[in-house]
């Protein structure tokens, strides 16, 4: 069984989720739980760092789709960063870059969040 792990940390005001391993139909519920937890705590500014994400299946992609509406309605966003080319290809095939902001580096993503916050203030 391929492993999948999620770790949480804060980067300034941004809640960073680091994904590690294989995200498929078996492990997707873990990610669902993680999003639910953040939403419950009203933490809507979420950055998903995919540095160690080895694989994502359609079930894994579906998790992002399930929560994006609620998070955007809460004034936040899900942004992604640090994808390996292979993982990016999966996101790209499905057209995710047209729905989500995907950054090569976490730093850029955080900056983008901050800029947005400044603008709304």
């Amino acid at each position: 069984m391929n492993e999948f792990k999620i770790s949480f940390r804060e980067n300034g005001k941004i809640h960073v989720m680091e994904l590690r391993g294989y995200l498929d139909a078996h492990t997707a519920p873990n990610l669902e739980e993680a999003f639910q937890k953040l939403i419950k705590e009203k933490k809507f500014h979420i950055l998903v760092n995919c540095k160690d994400l080895a694989y994502i299946s359609s079930a894994g992609l579906g998790v992002f789709m399930a929560f994006i509406e609620d998070i955007r309605a809460g004034g936040g966003d899900i942004k992604m960063s640090n994808m390996s080319p292979k993982v990016f290809n999966i996101f790209d095939l499905l057209g995710f870059p047209m729905l989500y902001e995907i950054f090569t580096d976490e730093h850029d993503a955080v900056k983008k969040f901050d800029a947005k916050k400044q603008a709304t203030k």
């Binding site: 139909a25 694989y55 057209g95 729905l99």
Partner: protein, 698 residues
Amino acid sequence: MKIRKLLLLFGSILLFAAVFVFDATMKSLDADLGSFYIIRGIVIIIAFILITLYIEMGWKESQPTMIQRIGRVAAWAGLFVGLSVIISVLRVGDFETRAFRLFPRDYITILFSAVLSIAGGIVAAITILNIKDMLLYKRKKGTSRNFWILMIFFFLASAATIDLRPLEPSVYTTVFFVLSVVMIIVNSFRLSWIAYLSRREKIYGMVYALLAFFAFMAINILLSISDKPFLSNALLYFSYPLHSFVQLTSLFGAVYFGMAFISTLFHLPTAEAFDRKQTELSSLHNLSRLITQVFDLDELAGTVIKMTFEVCEASSSWLEIFPNEAEGKTGHGETGIVSQQNISTEEIQTILFGDPLSIRSLVFSSKKVLLIDDARNDRRTKYMTKLKKVGSLLVVPLISHQNIIGILYATKEMDFGFDQDDIEVLSGFADQVTIAIENATLIQRSLEKERLQRELMLAQEMQKRLLPQNLPTFPNVDMRAVSAPALEVGGDYYDIAMLDDRRVGIVIGDVSGKGVGAAFYMAEMKGIFQSLSKLSFSPKNFLVKANESLFSSIDKHSFISLIYAILDVATGELVLSRAGHCPMLYATPSSIEYIKPSGMGLGLSTGVKFENSLEEKRIMMQQGDVCVFYTDGVTESRSASGEEFGYERLVQVVEEHRHRSAEEIKEEIIQRVWSYTDAHGYDDDLTIFVVKWNGISH
């Protein structure tokens, strides 16, 4: 068997008749044929042996209880005493005594002495046979031996008198008589059957044993007092050995039943406890049998409550079961009463919820048995004092995996009504019910699993039927497709439709997720494709319309990736749009590349955003050109080391075989993927659709 029985009966009757005739003849001749008396004695002994065998054969057919046996023996002995007393009182016969010899006064005397003697012999036989079965109950090593030694002494004591004249004393007889008495005493301690009688049976047994004791004492006295009554003389006249045998038997009967009476009397105080243990044992036995047979919890609960009543003599009892696990953990739920007896639901409500710190909540926090000895004065039950009928209370939790899944309650009107035994028995019941509930849950689960498996099979079947059974054939184009479903139900879909007389719509897609849900969306997709594809010759238009109809019905985290191509079979023009699906692989004889028009998956977004994401590509196929459509089951197949098959390997295999037929190309791809994944297998569906343009025929 029947014939043997009849032979025995007639044989003995015949022998007795012969003896009677002999006696009557002797009387009329007034003769004394000394040596004939031994033969007469032997004949009588044989006759009695026959009659004993006859009785024993009848015996084996019925299986009387111990109490029935004592009752029978007492009745026979009593009847015999009554008969001999009546005959004595009526003075219908009499004997003269001359030189140790008895002479009957008349023929009636001969008849009555024969009748009495035969009756005495039969009563003795019945007594011995019954006592034998009682002695040998739960036999130990020497039991059987002791009995047969007694019988031998009986026989010897009796047989020793065979050549004696009546009234003539003998040393041998006395010796064997004394030995017999010793063995009677030894055998009379075999009373193990008493322990297994219920209290009720013991009381009956005592009465019968006492009656039997008195009857045998009476026989014994009648046979041995010196001023011989008629009974004694009649037996002595008829057969001296019989007289000895009946006398020994009556002595045996008196001692044995006397012992039985006393022994039962001493057993009586413990009879109740014994009864109770017996009931407990049989209740637990019944319960465990019920568990394997009954998966109806209500019935089981009813039985448990009934048994609680029987065993503990409770004045009310009820059982709560919590089907909901969460409820079982906290105890703040509705009552889960499944069975109750002698108590109303309102009363139970008062006991369970009358106080925030009710006995129910106490048991929930301690998870231990709670016994309230004096409910009217205990501070823990103060809140329920208005329920006058509760004097003492026993609460037993049903615990499974550290959780309380139910509670068994019993109350008594008396205070201090429950003892340690009650606690143990109710705990035993609680355990049994717990097992039953767990069993029922497990069965429920396996049924559920089976149902899911059936559902999955159905979905698989449905999915197979959604795929085209045959592809149309055209002179210019060679098309081949294959779809290998994964072990589970997958979401792969491909289809083909004639849009008009020269244009063919080819679609290949993948529904996110697996299982029944995926199969359902796939069916929807097929409906959409078959109805919308004919409305437009633009793949992009089709995808926009398909997304519109799909977006409202598909759930948020599901989507469908699709590639749609329209091929003009007359010209070789191929127009395609891609909605998030794997790019098409396009190989000409000299080049090979992935065609990847932009576009997002169906169901991800809607309106302008979706429409603007879509591109349309147009290709004019030339002779020998190959298009390969596929699902991610091909590129994401993994080797044993976890590496994906990927896009490069797909290019390689198509490049190598592009000059071959569509069928061969398709086979090569599938073989390459399978040999790559090897025994590792794939956990996704795999679909391949190959189109080869053979050039415009003229």
